[in-house]
Symmetry: C2
Subunit: 283 residues, 2 copies
């Protein structure tokens, strides 16, 4: 049995605001009829690039067999913001969150407020992204069991008014397990459940040897990767922790699903670009 109810904000100030401008979405509670536009949303899917989230929206249009009226096409609802791209396909929002936790955090704050203003009941949020796998075949899909930082703490730290505030970063484990089961039934590629490290840096933060700065050896790197692997970490990316932290705080059910582009035990460089535009290939 799932709880029913609108998205509640953990912020008493919003109610007393005359208008709420969702600046980075190019939407506002005064300028747009958010209930009419978004009241039927059930699933919010987020991923890195505008291009990928457009492809995902087109894929869902096809999968759900939704016919747009003749002479109309999918529109990037947030185009005027020049920041995130947002597409709506029936009950699905497909939105790009950019790279890294701060970028994803801005989006999460504004999309959670959007759900509130639109009166959406009990939505589910997904991050669908890419990652580096640890000991996984490239192409493997990882569903996140628990999101942790580079020291393996499952907490989101935010400096608020000069103090570090640590919040639990929890995903919905039942949902994660369902997603793994669905993956096992359907596909020819592997789907696994595992811990995900979210970092604030792609190079040194993920133990790569190929950044502009590197002050450790290959042995140091491999020892770190093996150490975290033994503790259940299957992949590294840059957004899951804030995604888990903010959705949990807002009482929103959420899951993170990422495809591994490479096996970090075998290398650091991402070279899928050389084959072709992989984001087109995915959907």
């Amino acid at each position: 049995m799932e709880e029913q109810g609108g998205v509640e904000l953990m912020n008493p100030h919003i109610q007393s605001m005359e208008e709420d401008v969702l600046y980075h979405l190019a939407l506002g509670s005064g300028s747009h009829d958010l209930k009419q536009m978004f009241g039927d949303v059930q699933f919010v899917c987020m991923g890195g690039t505008p291009q990928r989230m457009k492809s995902f929206a087109e894929y869902m249009l096809d999968q759900l067999d939704i016919q747009l009226p003749t002479g109309s096409q999918l529109l990037d609802i947030s185009e005027r913001s020049h920041r995130y791209a947002m597409y709506k396909v029936g009950p699905i929002l497909s939105i790009s969150h950019g790279m890294g936790m701060p970028s994803a955090s801005i989006l999460l704050h504004e999309v959670i407020k959007l759900m509130y203003h639109a009166g959406v009941q009990n939505p589910t949020f997904f991050r669908i992204g890419t990652c580096g796998g640890i000991g996984l075949q490239p192409g493997t899909v990882v569903v996140t069991e628990e999101a942790v930082d580079g020291t393996l703490r499952p907490y989101l730290d935010t400096i608020i008014l000069g103090n570090v505030v640590s919040r639990e970063a929890k995903l919905d484990l039942n949902l994660a397990k369902k997603l793994v089961d669905v993956g096992k039934e359907q596909d020819g590629f592997g789907t696994v459940l595992g811990k995900t490290i979210s970092t604030n840096d792609f190079y040194e933060g993920q133990g790569r040897l190929d950044g502009a700065v590197c002050e450790y050896t290959e042995e140091d790197k491999m020892a770190y990767l093996h150490r975290v692997s033994q503790k259940g970490v299957t992949n590294m990316e840059m957004e899951a922790l804030v995604f888990a932290g903010l959705t949990h705080k807002a009482g929103i059910r959420s899951a993170v699903v990422c495809v591994a582009l490479l096996d970090r035990l075998k290398g650091d460089q991402v070279d899928v670009l050389r084959t072709d535009d992989w984001s087109q290939e995915m959907f």
Copy 2:
């Protein structure tokens, strides 16, 4: 007298790599003649959105009176990456870094490596962005004297192989002062020098009352803003600290110049979108 010399990498591993794929720029040392393409770069200018950095490139084309050959136009060099946009205008690179320090950090690592591969001599890096001012008229330009985190520490913390590594985040103060002087001579809007707080969150991280989550009062917020203001902080944004930290580590001269979109002592909401597409207005 300025030091002359190529950009050196603080990473001994790069030299032994057969090829270096700059994945998020859609460039590579094997696939592109980086010396030929970028060897003459002197100034690297970074800012948040692709749109703004395209406008800046077009503005520089005009200001430097550079004529592109008939039938040619500015090209987004990194278009295939779907992540950052990059334009080259004579000695200037104009690149978008997205929102937040992790996104800017990926770009900095790859652009510093690009400078190295291209054999660029003694480049200067600028971040040109937007910010919230503290006690400043909207439209005021802030040149950063020192970049600090939300606790006012001028250090960039990165979790590397499971440990927090703190690095000095230093900008070139002489360059900053020169920029303030240039601003004073030329414009009708104010230019000031001040400390800049870089945060990992736009809402709670900057003491806003209008995020999806807020667990403090307006009095708490104002007390924090006045406290940091008394310590010399003039503005808040989301990238200067990593920009200062990584350019300083790489020995690259750098400066941060941001326009204040609002005065945080008077409110939280950014509503310039309502007037018109402000990024078009800027250049």
